[in-house]
């Protein structure tokens, strides 16, 4: 199979389409502004596109680097964008239907469990060997991402609590990327025996995957931390005595 061939995980096309349909239906009653629609569309696109394109072919057949990049996109960025696309009324609806029961301390644990659990060698190899189990891996990562971002996007956390939450998540999640970066032998036998691409050895491929993962997380978390620091500052300026 050529690396430029398309591969498909149709479940995620269906998921993106169904979610977009639900969003459009909800938007009839509570019209979102342009940037919310753009955020939601980008999030839905980032769920469907990386899993239904040549990216999936390379990720599932050739390079761990691309697979890890794919995972970072669907676990960190796509869920955040989807949730940012929700209007206040949509968020209230989600909160009423279970969202309000999601506690930040459990959300972070679930996200970390998905993040580390799906990258355990046994699970990862099984998912790659069977092919269909990649759906489970990606589903867990997307669900973990949605759970993780919900306490922040729903507005239930104060700026200081949000900073603590993001700081804890940043520290706790960074070890996986560092393990890939510092590794001197491949963790996943599947990629050790996969046909190589772009001249990367299995170890270099894994090191680069760690860099991509760590770089993406650093960027996302620093932007999020920056946002909450600016919110903290603006809260102080509005409460300061004149």
């Amino acid at each position: 199979m050529s690396p430029t061939d398309f591969s498909w995980e149709p479940a995620y096309i269906v998921l993106a389409v169904v979610t977009a349909g639900a969003y459009a239906w909800a938007a009839r009653a509570d019209r979102p502004n342009g940037w919310r629609i753009a955020a939601f569309a980008a999030g839905a696109f980032l769920v469907a596109a990386p899993l239904n394109s040549p990216l999936e072919t390379i990720a599932a057949k050739r390079l761990l680097l691309v697979h890890l990049l794919q995972n970072a996109l669907i676990a960190d960025i796509a869920p955040l964008l989807v949730l940012l696309g929700l209007t206040p009324a949509m968020k209230t609806w989600v909160a009423r239907h279970g969202g309000s029961r999601i506690r930040a301390r459990w959300a972070i644990v679930a996200w970390l469990a998905a993040w580390y659990g799906t990258h355990l060698a046994g699970f990862y190899n099984w998912a790659l060997d069977t092919g269909w189990a990649l759906n489970i891996e990606h589903g867990l990562l997307i669900a973990g991402g949605l759970l993780f971002w919900w306490p922040l996007v729903s507005g239930r956390l104060s700026a200081p609590a949000a900073l603590a939450y993001l700081g804890a998540a940043f520290v706790a999640s960074s070890f996986l990327g560092l393990a890939f970066i510092f590794s001197s032998h491949p963790f996943y036998p599947f990629y050790e025996h996969a046909p190589r691409l772009w001249g990367f050895s299995p170890t270099r491929d894994q090191n680069l995957g760690g860099i991509a993962m760590n770089g993406e997380q650093t960027l996302v978390f620093l932007v999020a931390i920056g946002y909450y620091v600016s919110r903290l500052l603006s809260e102080e300026s509005t409460t300061a005595p004149v």
Partner: protein
């Protein structure tokens, strides 16, 4: 040995400050906790700059980085926390403090250095400049430049940590501003750490090991996470409690 001499002088100043405050019946402002913090704040740079760590720093970039973060970050953090409150004023004996305090030039100079933007810019510039490969190499060849480098780390660290801890209670920054400064310092440090961790080429000819270079990045990141993370936690904790009470 310069480090030991400077630490001894600092210890003397601190001891006379503590003694004077206690003589005035304010042992509560100069307790043993402060003494312990200050002592650790002096032991850390001495351990970093004298003995086996200093020898290892010549051959291992990660150890050299550890030296820098210890003297430029942990030491200023410990010292500023130790002297906060009236103890800060008592650090210098009156005959030394009075002329300095009266001098408008000295006050204006310090006031300029301690403007948040100035202090942060100096700290960030210090971080960037001393990691230029040419300078890093030069430092290893010339002792004078090496002393200058370490002095810069200490001064830059003291400037930002004075703003972060606010030992004199000057309130140059609000709590949010202090968290913002800590976040900005972490972001800058993270850029450097990522360059070191992510690079496949060694950047410093004197240190040929790539893993050593990557470890140096991790050392920087981990130390900043501990010091700045602890500070952010201490600053934000009362706010988190407050937010919970409001929510309840």
């Amino acid at each position: 040995m310069l480090a030991v001499a400077l630490a001894a002088v600092a210890a003397l100043f601190f001891a006379q400050g503590v003694a004077r405050l206690r003589r005035r019946g304010r042992a509560d402002l100069a307790g043993w906790d402060r003494v312990a913090l200050f002592a650790v704040g002096l032991v850390v740079p001495v351990v970093a700059l004298v003995g086996p760590m200093d020898r290892l720093a010549d051959t291992h970039l990660a150890v050299h980085m550890l030296q820098h973060v210890l003297i430029g970050d942990l030491t200023p953090a410990l010292l500023t926390v130790a002297v906060r409150g009236p103890l800060l004023v008592f650090l210098l004996p009156a005959p030394l403090l009075a002329p300095l305090a009266r001098s408008t030039r000295v006050r204006a100079f310090l006031s300029t250095l301690l403007r948040p933007r100035v202090a942060f810019a100096l700290w960030a510039a210090n971080l960037a400049v001393w990691h230029v490969p040419y300078l890093y190499d030069l430092v290893l060849r010339r002792d004078v430049v090496h002393y200058l480098e370490h002095a810069c780390w200490v001064v830059a660290g003291l400037l930002v940590w004075t703003l972060l801890v606010d030992p004199g209670g000057h309130r140059r920054l609000t709590v949010g501003g202090r968290v913002a400064l800590a976040a900005a310092m972490f972001a800058c440090g993270q850029v450097l750490a990522d360059v070191l961790i992510f690079s496949f080429q060694t950047l410093y000819p004197a240190y040929p090991g790539r893993t050593d270079q990557q470890l140096a990045g991790v050392v920087m990141m981990a130390e900043q996470l501990v010091t700045l993370g602890a500070l952010a936690f201490v600053l934000l904790r009362p706010r988190m409690r407050g937010a919970r009470l409001v929510a309840a």
